[in-house]
Symmetry: C2
Subunit: 207 residues, 2 copies
Amino acid sequence: MKDSSIETFLEELASHAATPGGGSAAAIMGAMGAALISMVCNLTIGKKKYAEVEDEMKAVLEKSESLRVALTGMIADDVMAFDQVMGAYGMPKETDEEKEARSEALQAALKTATDVPLRCCKVSREVIDLAQLVSDKGNLNVISDAGVAVLAGNAALRSAALNVLTNAKMIKDKDFAQAKLKELEELLSGAEAATEGAYGVVEGKLS
Amino acid sequence: MKDSSIETFLEELASHAATPGGGSAAAIMGAMGAALISMVCNLTIGKKKYAEVEDEMKAVLEKSESLRVALTGMIADDVMAFDQVMGAYGMPKETDEEKEARSEALQAALKTATDVPLRCCKVSREVIDLAQLVSDKGNLNVISDAGVAVLAGNAALRSAALNVLTNAKMIKDKDFAQAKLKELEELLSGAEAATEGAYGVVEGKLS
């Protein structure tokens, strides 16, 4: 997936095939957010004017690069999780045994398909928090890129959240589903304010 | 650019090279938004349950596909516009004649570098409006993708807006700059409400 060209990916996204879908798009948005944080760090580190924040920017860069790699991997993870759900739906359901096997496979697949976007939410929230930092302290010449990073991270978080909701509500293990929805709620909490705060800082620097 | 792999693009985005940057990321977000609208349309058209909205979905699909193509083209346009600005900055500035030629080239480049993201804003706003429509009427099985589409469109709009601000403020032709900023303001007006409205509709359908 990550090896396909951007144009091919966009064509496949638009097609009537169910994958890739919004989950992969969310992971790409998050990965672009992380990448832009790295870019701002890379263009801040080594500049005399920003010597004071150099160590901090190096630490941010290390973190943002690991977030970028994690989110890049999630582009394909989402497709695999969805295919697993579809595979379970396609299992035979004539006999009672078949019905039970199908239901078990489906429930297991739905748990994975809840965990995958929840991981995307978690990492995207970290993108938002790091973007806030580079919006404050990054090189002013590329500060708009810090603003794009925070918007991309927030869109990724809220996009992946929709997939968590979609799959969690079909899970019969209510304790599992509730725990995941609670975790989601915590990840969403304060994200919007952090995003608007960082975006406002960037806008202020540009005007 | 659009032919490079997603992984390569993300690596280049993260690097200390100034391009690709946030402008290309904005165009990709917009293109993903348009693509997801097309996907929802493709999975709504031909379904008995949605026969009533079939003609409308076909019209939306035609429009979203043209937006997708336009935004895909803007991934590279942004890089070219930025390179033109950098090229002008690099021109000699020893003699008065050189200074004047450099200033003229720079001002022309800045006008292009304002127009390109403004076009991205315009098309992304159309993505938001179309996403609102498919959030209301699209196939319920893929309604989360309509939610991702509207978030991607809005992130694209607000990201490209930062590049308009960045470049417009360096333009000496104040009438030109003011006209562009006014156009930007109109494109942003109501976009947030439309986005939150559509996202709320999707969330409501998922819970």
